[in-house]
């Protein structure tokens, strides 16, 4: 199984398949369906310094080959996570990575500081790309300056693996990736959801309480792939690719576009065992193509 191993900064993954924050709860929601130890890692629910109720109902609208969500980072805050959730999940034999969000640079720093000493949390993912909160979130991820500021501040206090989750709602994602790399990010993960909208024609009203929300699912995959490809040519740090991954073919495509590892997101809702099936599918693919290591595939696209 060593062929499946990859590294993200100092973080060793047994395989490149992980699950995306906001689609996987704290992992506990999935233990009836899969053996979490088969995954390279799990990215747990977006965590903020203070508890958040999230947005009002309705928070979801199905779209062609995807969905919009407007959850708005509902979570019980980092203190609750440290005291109640961490003790419950720390025994999982996989990398547990916490997604950190905030409405100010200070929030990101304080929240990250609370996670540094947790032995079984080897990395955090800075969410500078949530489209569903009024303050902060995506605002930090859509300009090079603000993205750099957050990463610089957190980097000072967080010595473990620092991953930065990028927003696709920008003109040039490569520039943002370069800005966070320059401030010491170990990896970038992309893409978060695309800002979108759904309308009920009969009622003449928006389907989401927040009017706009984040679009995910297979409908975004071609754009996500293109962005991974662009970022692969913009930075030297490893990329974690995501956006509509449903099966092993999708995962391989992201790796060929330049991703070192991938996250399965929305499709977990449809097939809660999808992530493990993707691990098996990648393994078969390596066998069939006589490939000795995932590293040989990363960005290795045949272009005439």
């Amino acid at each position: 199984m060593d062929r499946l191993k990859v590294s993200i900064g100092g973080l060793e993954l047994k395989n490149p398949v992980m699950t995306a924050s906001g689609t996987f709860g704290y992992g506990t929601e999935y233990i009836d369906f899969i053996d979490l130890s088969r995954l390279g890692g799990i990215f747990v629910k977006g965590t903020t310094l203070e508890p958040r109720d999230g947005n009002n109902y309705s928070r979801m609208a199905e779209t062609a080959s995807g969905m919009l969500n407007a959850v708005g980072l509902q979570n019980k805050g980092v203190t609750y996570f440290v005291q109640h959730i961490y003790p419950e999940i720390k025994q999982y034999d996989t990398n547990i990575i916490v997604n950190v969000s905030g409405s100010s640079v200070d929030d990101y720093v304080k929240c990250s500081e609370r996670l540094v000493d947790l032995e079984r949390i080897p990395a955090i993912e800075l969410n500078i790309s949530c489209p569903n909160v009024k303050e902060g979130g995506m605002a930090f991820g859509t300009s090079c300056d603000s993205a750099a500021k957050v990463v610089k501040a957190v980097r000072k206090i967080y010595p473990k693996t620092l991953i930065v989750k990028l927003s696709p709602n920008v003109t040039n994602i490569g520039e943002i990736a370069r800005a966070v790399e320059a401030e010491g990010a170990d990896s970038v993960s992309l893409v978060n959801t695309f800002l979108g909208m759904a309308i009920d024609a009969e009622k003449r009203s928006p389907k989401l309480s927040t009017i706009t929300g984040g679009l995910s699912g297979p409908c975004i995959k071609p754009i996500a792939l293109r962005m991974v490809w662009e970022v692969y040519h913009a930075v030297g740090i490893p990329i974690i690719g995501m956006g509509g991954i449903c099966n092993w073919q999708d995962a391989i495509e992201f790796i060929l576009a330049g991703a070192t590892a991938i996250q399965v997101g929305t499709y977990n809702f449809i097939d809660p065992a999808a992530s493990v099936k993707i691990v098996d599918g990648i393994s078969d693919y390596l066998d069939r193509h006589h490939i000795l290591s995932i590293d040989d595939l990363i960005g290795n696209l045949n272009i005439d």
Partner: protein
């Protein structure tokens, strides 16, 4: 997750089908399936039905190893479900959600109030109540006589009262105006149906000091507590209707000012 095979798909009226399925492998349905719980059904081969469809458990026929699902044809997903033929396979995640809670004393008088396709979980609840020694009453409403579903099945488990908006069967009007609510004093009401109906029932129960549980149908993506989309505002804050519900005691809800 379980693959089920369709045994029959009976059209009950112009909008509703009764889908009877059994595990494709022949394995026995879990004994733990309870009234109020639901399944998440995968609809294959349509880009417009990306997410699973949550459908209440209408009935579990233990000896025949059948799961019954009452489907209202209201959109792309349910249209596909209504068109499944005998022998076709469907993938479901189940059982999901909590359940209705019967009172501790079997002498308690219980009324099950349903509207439209919302009557679905009440048939299974009626059976469980009867099996446990209760004598349930049913109050079922619809727009018209043809919208009152499975009346013969309900009658096996207790007295059935009906209302229709056009007066074609039972008393004319909404369930909340039925004379039985003036004539009888119930200890516990269980309700499922359109939200305005459930809110009216909850207010009636609250004003008359009757315990009441309602089964919610909030829009959801996953059905098992991961997506946080189906939240309901409760006295405990925002909770997932799929895992903390779909059945809530009305005292927990914020429907009554």
């Amino acid at each position: 997750m379980l693959d089920m095979v369709v045994l029959s798909n009976e059209r009950l009226n112009d909008q509703n089908n009764l889908l009877k399925v059994t595990p494709a492998t022949g394995e026995k349905l879990p004994d733990t399936v309870s009234p109020g719980q639901f399944v998440q059904i995968r609809i294959e081969n349509s880009v417009h039905t990306f997410l699973r469809r949550p459908i209440s458990v209408n009935f579990v026929h233990t000896s025949l190893n059948q799961l019954w699902l009452l489907v209202q044809n209201v959109g792309e997903g349910t249209k596909h479900l209504c068109n499944y033929s005998e022998g076709e396979k469907i993938n479901i995640i189940f059982p999901l959600g909590n359940q209705f809670h019967l009172p501790s004393k079997v002498t308690s008088k219980i009324l099950l109030i349903g509207g439209g396709v919302g009557t679905a979980p009440l048939l299974f609840l009626g059976k469980k109540a009867t099996d446990n020694g209760f004598k349930p009453n049913f109050l079922l409403g619809g727009r018209s006589a043809k919208d009152l579903l499975q009346l013969d099945d309900f009658k096996k488990y207790g007295a059935v009262y009906t209302t229709t908006e056009d007066g074609t069967q039972g008393e004319k009007g909404f369930v909340i105006h039925h004379s039985i609510l003036q004539e009888e004093k119930y200890d516990f009401i269980y309700t499922c149906g359109p939200k305005p109906m459930m809110v009216a029932v909850a207010k009636y129960a609250h004003e008359n000091d009757i315990e009441c549980e309602a089964s919610l149908e909030n829009l959801m993506a996953c059905g098992f507590g991961a997506c946080l989309c189906c939240i309901e505002k409760t006295t405990r804050g925002n909770v997932c209707a799929c895992t903390e519900g779909p059945v809530f005691n009305i005292k927990e809800l914020t429907w009554i000012d």
